[in-house]
Symmetry: C2
């Protein structure tokens, strides 16, 4: 914090909405030089992962090269590396390959990982949907399940075409709608030799409605659309166990299935525990209203990685829009700090919730006065907002035109089954944390 004159060094860990948002606002600012560290060389647009999983978009459509994004920003230096430790006192970040980066400011935005809540078998046998790798793995698995059944139709009686989605939040609901539609339209026409009508999609949630954070009208609308598309909704029940060939629900039901999709909750990435900083719900780092960590001036925690106090009490939800706003705000805060300008606490501008449930059916609750939109108008709003949020993502417009075209023509894009990637992601230990939904 002391080298007078030269630009201050900002080290950002993670290039999700939060870290990327912060880096973009600091790009070309002569007061700072930025080192942005991520284990991937791309930013992934998480809200559309379920579209990759259901073959509506190609993986490359929702990923953007970080180097391309910062090509004309010489003050932003990218490092492709896995961060293994952080010393918030010394303000250093150490990577797996041994490099150490010391900053005048540390911005910790390492994101989340799925939270399986110690459910037996869930980590081993279910498919989460949080990263692009997850989405590609899930896409391959969906197609594989159909191909297996096509070769051996007897598998259908054993539940090979039953799909169980855990968690009725936006991720689970959007996935259920998209999967049901994929089965009803694409698969039914592409498998000449298989009784695709035997396929079933189950959506399991322990709450009293799907899309809990939305209004009651939204609950009803979502349930109606999902039922129309054949989704079996199981409310008030949770998953007790996931096994290779079935799941057990808390109400005693056993569902035979070869594919369980986990949309059940999130917790902070394991790096959070390693920092030694205070952790709140979901293992997230507790921050003050200005997003810095108590006792560590110049150390910020952002987005899903942080437990951000909400003015109304409790913490802000794990949403892309929260993450993006914390990123922008932190960049501004750092610039103010450097110039010794007084500043206010972070304030989240609630832009509302959105979810797409099925063909031409979406829900949007926009603004603080909660305008509720259902059906085609909401769908148009959904398209517009995501199109806006995808700024910087490769082929934003093209991807959307293509996607909309495929969507309305009921044709489907990139259905490649990647058989080479059989690697399981090691999620490490599951923390003992509360359930949180990600949208």
């Amino acid at each position: 914090m002391s080298d007078k004159g030269g630009p201050k060094h900002v080290v950002i860990v993670g290039s999700g909405f939060a870290g990327l948002g912060c880096a973009r606002k600091l790009a070309l600012r002569k007061e700072v030089r930025v080192t942005l560290i991520d284990k991937n060389n791309y930013h992934q647009f998480q809200p559309l992962l379920y579209q990759v999983a259901t073959s509506l978009l190609a993986p490359d459509d929702i990923a953007v090269s970080l180097r391309k994004l910062f090509r004309t920003h010489p003050n932003v230096d990218l490092k492709l590396a896995e961060v293994v430790s952080i010393d918030p006192k010394a303000k250093t970040v150490t990577t797996k390959s041994g490099e150490v980066y010391q900053g005048d400011y540390l911005v910790l935005a390492a994101g989340s990982q799925p939270n399986f809540f110690r459910t037996p078998g869930a980590a081993e046998h279910s498919f989460p949907l949080y990263s692009l790798n997850d989405a590609e793995r899930l896409r391959s698995r969906i197609l594989e399940v159909f191909e297996d059944a096509d070769r051996d139709p007897k598998l259908v009686e054993k539940g090979a075409l039953n799909f169980v989605i855990v968690g009725g939040g936006p991720t689970g609901t959007e996935m259920a709608g998209a999967l049901a539609e994929m089965i009803n339209s694409t698969m039914a026409s592409e498998y000449h030799d298989l009784a695709v009508t035997g396929a079933k999609v189950y959506l399991v949630d322990h709450g009293h409605a799907v899309l809990g954070p939305f209004s009651e009208r939204a609950h009803e609308y979502a349930a109606r659309v999902l039922k129309r598309d054949g989704v079996q909704i199981r409310l008030g029940t949770s998953v007790k166990e996931v096994a290779p060939g079935h799941v057990m629900l808390s109400d005693g039901t056993r569902i035979e299935t070869h594919l369980v999709i986990w949309g059940g909750g999130l917790m902070a990435a394991p790096l959070a525990a390693q920092t030694g900083l205070p952790q709140g719900r979901g293992g997230r780092i507790d921050v003050r209203p200005d997003l810095t960590v108590e006792g560590f001036p110049g150390v910020y925690a952002l987005g899903d990685f942080a437990n951000i106090p909400s003015p109304g009490g409790g913490a802000l939800p794990q949403l892309g829009s929260v993450a993006l706003q914390t990123g922008y705000w932190t960049a501004q805060h750092i610039l103010y700090e450097i110039k010794n300008i007084a500043h206010f606490p972070f304030h989240y501008h609630d832009k509302g919730f959105m979810a797409m449930i099925g063909r031409n059916a979406a829900i949007a609750e926009i603004g603080e006065h909660r305008h509720e939109l259902h059906g085609p108008v909401a769908f148009a709003a959904w398209l517009g907002v995501h199109s806006y949020l995808m700024t910087g993502v490769r082929n934003r417009i093209e991807a959307f035109i293509e996607w909309a075209w495929d969507y309305f023509s009921a044709s489907r894009g990139p259905q490649e089954l990647d058989r080479s990637d059989a690697a399981r992601i090691d999620w490490g230990e599951d923390g003992d944390t509360d359930e949180e939904e990600k949208s």
Copy 2:
């Protein structure tokens, strides 16, 4: 061959240009029902693999879903399976999962694999470019090499940015040109912190010129363009050994490198040996002028999998256009057989060679009178022919517009580094076969 009345069963192994061409011509023909077996659920457009490897196209741009292609063709049944044995006498095909398919006709079009000619270390340490998986692996490796050097610039002195391409045929030449251009334009602008000018591309061939099968003018033109882009051409020398950090050439030169790309030759897929059928050069199945195997009426071998006699002596080259024509012709031949119509031997219509060497520089030698085109006119022809050949590939037009746009704007598309896929492909034993080039 005896079940009177019902449609004849054609079992096709492989959905490359040959197998897919055959299946498409038999689709909707009431005389036959087709079972098309492939280990992937997509057809890959091989001539553009180098564009995926150099991030100019996304993998999904050059892959087409087989189920989508045959959606409206109920007489074509797809099976996603790995074929492990073929009995040409019983006309049966057995898959790894144990299914057995018996045909009235067998069409064997299982393609090629790279031929390393027993070069020590080549199979273990070099990157071939024959499949979409190869292209994705190579893309990841190219980006990884740059990221490693960016983290640790000392690696550059150890040759981390030296790229060695083995084989000066169309694959090696196109790869060298595209890689040089990627380095000169994209990488130079995207790495703020790395001396990209230290990167070098070597193209090694044991012959006296690059693009051997082309004319002398083409040799000179290609060499001029490659040299302009900084490619180091090493002719009259072959690779003696590939090691993790270097290659040894037959002239005694040692080149430090972290990436060797193998475009050195092809041999038939290992399934060829398993059939027990007579094998010729490169392990390919010997066929008669009507593409059937001597002594096994109704058993055809096609494309790269077959050793097809050329009227001028020798065998036809391993080219996409040869494969496609054998596929179309075999379909017609089977229909004639069923109707007992007399037919003529297969005749290859030579459409000429094409290769793209660098920005706005291509070579085309078209038709039997060899019109030679170089430069922008050849480039336009190259674009047109590939656009035509890509028929059926997803987003044909969009992919090309996008590609052309990126190409001319010197911006680059999908540069995602897939770090999850560290699996090496096991090429099995290398046969002791002659060198063949693939274009």
